[in-house]
Subunit: 242 residues, 2 copies
Amino acid sequence: MAQNIYDNPDFFAGYSQLPRQVEGLAAAPEWPALRAMLPELAGKRVVDLGCGFGWFARWARSAGAAAVLGLDLSQAMIARARAETTDAAIRYAIADLDTLELAAGAFDLAYSSLAFHYLADFGRLARTVHQALVPGGAFIFSIEHPIYMAASHPHWTADEDGRKTWPVNRYAIEGERRTDWFAKGVVKYHRTIATTLNTLIETGFALRRVGEFAPSAEQIAAQPSLEEELERPMMLLVSAQR
Amino acid sequence: MAQNIYDNPDFFAGYSQLPRQVEGLAAAPEWPALRAMLPELAGKRVVDLGCGFGWFARWARSAGAAAVLGLDLSQAMIARARAETTDAAIRYAIADLDTLELAAGAFDLAYSSLAFHYLADFGRLARTVHQALVPGGAFIFSIEHPIYMAASHPHWTADEDGRKTWPVNRYAIEGERRTDWFAKGVVKYHRTIATTLNTLIETGFALRRVGEFAPSAEQIAAQPSLEEELERPMMLLVSAQR
């Protein structure tokens, strides 16, 4: 079973205060890029893998989705997500994405935000999603960018001009990475960009678009701290189609 | 017109001594990964974009290609390539990839090794190649990895444990990069991974495989200096299909 850091009280307390958890999708700077990858949602059946507090599930319904299934490993997350809606077309369930099973052809869209870097076996998940989508169905997700999470000590440094610089090492050495983020020893799994994309292709998906979040000039003007995200790729966004 | 650094005498003298120029494909550590992406070549018409001394053109003929067109901006390269073969099915021509034109449907395979990071406009080149391939034709190339070439000062550093570390900054800021490599002020053009892959998808190619060269244990045993290439992605390899 995957590490369930989200039900660690210290982690949950810190995580729950992130702007994107308090304010929702509008506080996630990559959301406009991810939203632009989404198909028309009217009448669609959607599954959200790692749904957290349900911000995307509720948005998908407001965008016309017929039904949304939100899945998360965290009991605290699912409890809070359930408390946030009375919409009978949104269903939440506790599920471990490492052992997930989904009914064949049950969904038109599989969506996931910043969850798959916790998975030990992305190939298994990709196959599960592929068979769960209708032909032509969309698989759209974000992960921490492999460049962001590869290094032994992932933190800003400076180059000889004092420019903010992100360190990369161990890039080709895939596997576990432990970091301290609201709690000690959060376990993530590094895979190269090539591994992630080739896994999708080999599973039978066609790649429709790849994104590497970078803030727009407008986003930087509104939130100057985002400017550093021009220096490094922090998130990888993928649009694939069955 | 593109900068023609290869006809700079200092550059040419140094470049000509690179193992891969002296010994050919076997001295290029990424060649096994690139070769594995190639289709069966028997009877195929091949164009090599940035053919240099013609090592790939001669190999393609030995692998059964019906005809090979090698194109390069450098007069010195093309002169040397012509001197290295008497094979009438290999033709060489001087061409600037930034303004290249190719006949429609003239090729089954377009190949390029470490040339496109010199191009200001990859989109134009991708469209030129797409229309020059037959339907189902393959477009297989390597470039310097965007992570390798993004930073203002691309050179090894060390992290707090002394581990070799590659610096990344200016990743989202695409455009010209000037480096000193056998000559001062060699001009390259940085594009993100997303831009390169999306350009291919938008041009009508299907992505078949993405590679990020990393040396095998056997390669490191034979050439220990390659071990550092586990730390950073140095080359991006792409297999696309019209």
